[in-house]
Amino acid sequence: MTSSSAPSRKALSKIACNRLQKELVEWQVSPPAGFKHKITDNLQRWIIEFVGASGTLYAEETYQLQVDFPEHYPMEAPQVVFIPPAPLHPHIYSNGHICLDILYDSWSPAMTVSSICISILSMLSSSTEKQRPADNDRYIKNCRNGRSPKETRWWFHDDKV
């Protein structure tokens, strides 16, 4: 499980706490369609369950995302991974790591968990074939020591999704 190998993190800053509480309230009022936040008392790690959009390759399939927030969220991006089994997708590795630019270089503090969820869903929905990235095996091998996807130098596969 990825959850056991998540990097040790510092507690959330006050700014991060305030902001996450606001996001949580907003989520409860209007969650992104198809997404469910599993309520825990851990503000720093969210577990989110969602169902693939109907009419796409992932329709009716249920997946879980694990979102870990750093001390200086939202100035720093959260770490977002699929809890295996991860969907078969050319940009998603079998260990749950996701190759999506907004999670790394293109993160902006004006983004939210909700906007991340929508991006991930749209990434799945636009996929035309269910398969792993070509370099899946090599990448998984390199991640064996519990490396966080945020330590990876991502080479974004393409920009159409």
Partner: protein
Amino acid sequence: MESDDDMHDANDLESVDEDFYSDVTGEVSDGGDAECDFEDDLSDESDEIVSRHQQNYTVLNETDIRQRQEEDISRVSAVLSILKIQACLLLRHFNWSVSKVHDEWFADEKNVRKDVGLLEKPVKMANTGEHKCGICFEVYPRNVVSAAACGHPFCSSCWKGYIGTSVSDGPGCLFLRCPDPSCNAAIGQDMINVLGSDEDQEKYAYYLLRSYIEDNRKTKWCPAPGCEFAVDFIFGCGSYDVSCNCSHIFCWNCTEEAHRPVDCGTVAKWILKNSAESENMNWLLANSKPCPRCKRPIEKNQGCMHITCTPPCKFEFCWLCLGPWSKHGERTGGFYACNRYEAAKQEGVYDESERRREIAKNSLERYTHYYERWATNQQSRQKAFADLRSMQSDKLEKLSDIQSQPVSMLRFIIDAMLQVIECRRVLKWTYAYGYYLPEHEHAKRQFFEYLQGEAEAGLERLHQCAEKELQVYLEAEGPIDEFNDFRSKLAGLTSVTRNYFENLVKALEHGLEDVGPNRQPTCTKTSSSTNTADKVKKAVKSRASGNGSRSAPATSSWDSHWMCEQCTFANPNSASACEMCEH
């Protein structure tokens, strides 16, 4: 090319110090030696020497850089009728090329605005009411929030954090955009200076200044450690050698230390080779060797190769070959010269086991020969630098007092020292040149070694004069009459050596093209000193005779290793590609 205009250079060369340099312009040919023809001596090259190259670069200090940057920004701002802050963003986007900004802007302003993030019509935030910060989602009165031209409001503490995160990531902050993911409005220095912390403002300004040099195709920082000058280079004519105001001379093309007469590619090859070899051998050029006679360790602290052991031994020997200095004449092929590795080896001058105490690998011996001489010249050069500094800082005034001469009259000493530094640099690189000169081009090799030997001898003589002979006048109680003789001697040596080295560089840069393997012997110029000419002839002959049995460097003989053909790194047999150069 064959103009006679500059022939006086060659004449100078003879007249200043005939005795010493006449063999350079004199002929070496005995007609019987068909293979070797040294008709084309260096003076023939002198017609190509332009007295002083027109400088094709400008050294810039921080004030110059700021001023140029400011001028470029003002120009673009005036021509495009946009704010300076926008002009700055535009210039940064197009790598500070004013002409590129103009071209792109007038070709497609709309697209350029989009790429750079310059909005045509700024969006004003409402002046009243409450504004929700797009990052912390708190609601604030108008005076706490700010926005770029796009009008997306963020509170001042979120701006500070946003700018801080970006600036701490490095120069990418120069491309900062509005935090709103759907907006690409550029954030310029004006906003940084209002909303960023003091430290971030400073860093941003620093990156902006550096970018003006680093992202501009025509400018580079001087690579000397701690040097803050930059160099603006004009492409086209002339060499890449650039002399910074910090006194570092470097190649603008590859930013290695200036390396004429060898080209950038050879330098890169040589540097790679050095790191491979030093890894291989973990061998460091020792700064201490035992005195060949009394075996006490000797510290080489002077720049020249002539070493005298401390009393009571006082043995005088050559640092390079550890042979007695008294034998450094014809035996080693010229005055004071010791570059005759191959020949000396043939003659059994070296006691191999003694000489190569630490170096047992036969395959590296040839390289070691060149490397050691390359490195020794480098060290001598650094020593000469240090000497120059101490001369400029206090010795010159001392000398001026002792000899009752104004400091302005002592300029010749500084000139001599600068010449030594320059010659050490050239000489150093001739060893890399020699290393890569193909083994089979015998005539070229011989000619090269002859020229190098002469250069080395001349330099040793100049160095010795500027270092040791000067000492007498520095330590004197009062004025010495001979000081004026010393002046003309040193000034003469400086000028003669400068000419010689300039010619040497030209000859090597042209690949010694005048020396072909099958040239008919031509000869004729009469030498003013038959004596010297004979000497050279002999030296050349003795080297020529050593040729036939010169042993090619053995290929790798380590059992568990193979040697990379490209860089000679010894790789374990298990490696399929070279671990050093990936060959």
